[in-house]
Symmetry: C2
Subunit: 494 residues, 2 copies
């Protein structure tokens, strides 16, 4: 039951329930036209592309299109594909151009970014939903490994123990129980200098980054330095708060922090650079901290994948080097699941009140019960246990994936394997990212090229794929790897 | 175990655990000084005021102060009370002036508002925490009536039934299951013209209002009209997004919508004006909608207390009159508890994409599991059942409160009783709000004057109290009413 798909820049909510895929698709398309989500004149994806995207037979899509053309909702012209009919506008609710609206809403020209972000989420949802499809895109843990029963049990214990007042309006920094539990965990497991008074609970990294950017901007900051490759939505979040962006090249030692220059803050992924997968070298860590001390700048440490390191001792948090100059940001999105919407910021003392003031007016607190449940999950040792389990499983996957690639696609260079839930494959000369991604899609495998993570055109790397091995459910992993190797061998072929 | 208190403008996190109140208080104060939350030179509340605020013996506070003076953390001078010692600064982390930071962080001069909001939350937490104290301030339902077991059971059912993909990154509009359930409920119970495609799930009203204000501002809106009396934090949220505010007088027919003038949008509480308690008259509803149609303006309908109406048929939502010109906003904060952080916006079709784009960059989505649980709670009929239970209980409370007031404080005029969880008491001539509130505090009863809800000085009403009868737990209600009547009789006395 995919509930969303994105193709050719569209982002449509489709509810395909039950076995009647064709009638479900027809109803969903009719609904989308009627409510204006699909505007008159909109070009629909080819039946082949949509079928591949939804993981259904091409004929089913072709038949649904045919039916809707017959009903007058769509028009089909030879050579120009299928479009939403003009006369459908009469029934449709008014709708402005989405791209423009997004730009306006973001307060800056971030339409593309927002659409990209929405698109990514949509693609992800569609990909995961479809059992016929394999998904090796990065950014998600294995959702099927979420310990549902243990989580429910923790929810029961924590809600039973909670005083009624815990269910009221909470303070802007989050539940004290969770801040205490996190302070203990982060100091123990990640070397963070954490105390509960410096922690602010947020709804995941995007939310937390937005709060920080707003506090920075309000304090007069103008420029945020980011890594040359990273999630576009993070750059969009900063830009929407009025920060200008610069980007730091990334090499084998991580981000070139010597180029931070006059930025007021820098956003880094020191533990496992996303997406390139390198760790920030010790010298660079020291240099970043020295920069912050010298200039009064702020390091924002996105501890992406920090908990998943396989081949040597975990690298501690940069924050420990200078807690008054570094914000440590973490989430439960990889250690548990993104849908929990739980994140945390460990802040320099002088930023706590400012961030609390921002969140008071921004809203978006996580639910008290969820905060209490995570606190209980950590305090009872279940969080550590789940991490150990996951680390073992992901390490096994990584080993299997890397071994298969070395065997079956020896021309592909594999990097970033020491940690995290993704690796980077540099394609042999002459191959194009988008071609490989398209070829994979035709074989039912969702992949992502490196290019979409690039901050600026001037950053150029050879064509590469960012392969996430956390995403598939356990039973689908071997098949996904086989499919990947087949696609890559085919690409290497004549 | 109060975990926060606010006195004399301070907002301190205190963890008083177990029975050792004095040593807990000492530790909390030491910690606050050490971490810089209490800065050198800060004036502490009198031992009497703090004791009353925390609901502990005055001697306990005096002894704790004495101990910390002896340790050098505090200084006590005859005639100038107790202060944080200067030399404590050496141990304390740097901390800027909170007021200024809040203003900066909010991006505008909303320091007072933000502090007020934070203060309110703090007072609320402290008040509810203290079993020696009665609390008749508005804004909270009876937290002890939250159906914990039913909620947990619904969480178990919905998590067991959810596909794994539901635990991943969701789309910006929220889970389709919840949007479907809400569309059904809102159309049935509140007459809202809802369809799942028009609903965006948010984390409560403040979060949703912020999203709307940002979308409005990005679309070029300049002015938001608000009711002359309302929650200051709502005005602060709009101001922080760059909207200018005007205010509409409120009379017995509700807000004077004829004065909306050139505003781009108007924020109304039609079902039960907060805090004055009147319903927006039919003529005014029509006039608001007519204004929106004529000018292209937007009505934001905060369905405050909409579910709690006792003496006649519920008043349907204004949104039903013009779904393309009205945003309907609701939450589970009163029907269940604020700590769930679940709210929803039913939007005109042309606003859906814009608000979704804003939330994509703002973050703050509610957790997927909570959304699924509420969907299950609604679909299974438990939400309606809980509302019926709550409505009966609150109606009984209201009747008891109003009868007691008529008997024991006949000089006090009682209004706004037809709905909601609060009433307004107009004090007899010659009495001052702050005096009555102080007198009540000395008797262990937390009250709120009307004045703090006033948007502008030009709006003047006689001294009044906003009495919330939802807040106390069932066992404490009769005592709270008796205390209120005693305070009011005393005030009326010679």
């Amino acid at each position: 039951m995919p509930d969303t798909w994105a193709t050719s820049g569209l982002d449509l909510h489709l509810e395909l329930t039950g076995r009647r895929v064709r009638s479900g698709l027809e109803a969903a398309l009719r609904d989308a036209v009627r409510t204006g989500r699909l505007r008159p004149g909109t070009q629909l994806p080819s039946s082949r592309a949509l079928a591949s995207d939804l993981g259904i037979a091409r004929n089913t899509v072709a038949e649904a299109y045919g039916q809707l053309v017959a009903e007058g909702w769509l028009t089909a012209r030879r050579g120009s594909g299928t479009q939403v009919a003009d006369r459908a506008a009469e029934a449709a609710a008014p709708a402005r151009a989405t791209g423009q609206s997004a730009a306006q809403a973001a307060g800056r020209s971030t339409a593309q970014g927002a659409a990209q972000a929405a698109g990514r989420a949509a693609v992800q949802a569609a990909g995961q939903a479809d059992r016929l499809r394999y998904d090796l895109r990065p950014g998600s843990p294995d959702l099927s490994a979420f310990p549902r029963q243990e989580w429910l049990a923790a929810a029961r214990r924590s809600l039973s123990a909670a005083p009624s007042k815990a269910l009221g309006y909470g303070g802007p920094r989050g539940r004290p129980e969770l801040r205490r539990a996190l302070a203990g965990y982060l100091s123990r497991a990640r070397g963070v200098r954490a105390d509960p008074g410096r922690i602010v609970i947020c709804s995941g990294f995007t939310h937390g980054l937005g709060l920080l950017c707003q506090a920075l901007r309000a304090g007069g900051a103008a420029v945020l330095a980011t890594e040359a490759y990273g999630l576009p939505v993070h750059r969009d979040v900063a830009a929407a708060r009025g920060l200008r962006l610069t980007s730091l090249p990334v090499d084998a030692d991580g981000a070139a922090v010597s180029e931070i220059g006059g930025a007021a803050a820098v956003l880094l992924t020191p533990a496992h650079q996303f997406p390139l997968g390198v760790a920030l070298a010790a010298g660079r860590r020291a240099m970043a901290v020295e920069w912050a001390r010298r200039t009064g700048g702020l390091v924002i440490e996105d501890d992406y994948d920090g908990e998943f390191r396989y081949d040597r001792q975990p690298i501690g948090a940069v924050q420990a080097l200078a807690p008054e100059h570094v914000v440590y940001a973490g989430t439960a999105s990889k250690s548990l699941v993104p849908g929990l919407q739980l994140g945390w910021l460990v802040l320099p003392a002088q930023l706590v009140d400012e961030v609390a003031a921002v969140i008071t007016l921004a809203g978006g607190y996580p639910a008290a019960l969820d905060q209490l449940t995570l606190a209980e999950f950590i305090e009872s040792g279940r969080y550590d246990r789940q991490l150990r389990r996951a680390r073992l499983a992901y390490r096994r996957r990584r080993d299997q994936l890397v071994a298969a690639l070395r065997r079956q696609a020896p021309d592909v260079q594999v990097t970033g394997i020491a940690a995290g839930l993704h690796i980077v494959l540099t394609l042999p000369a002459g191959q194009r990212e988008d071609e490989v991604v398209s070829r994979a899609a035709r074989r039912g495998l969702a992949l992502e090229g490196l290019g979409q993570y690039r901050a600026q055109r001037r950053h150029t790397r050879g064509p590469s794929l960012v392969v996430g091995y956390g995403t598939p459910a356990e039973h689908a992993f071997t098949g996904a790897v086989a499919r990947l190797c087949a696609v890559l061998s085919e690409a290497a072929g004549p």
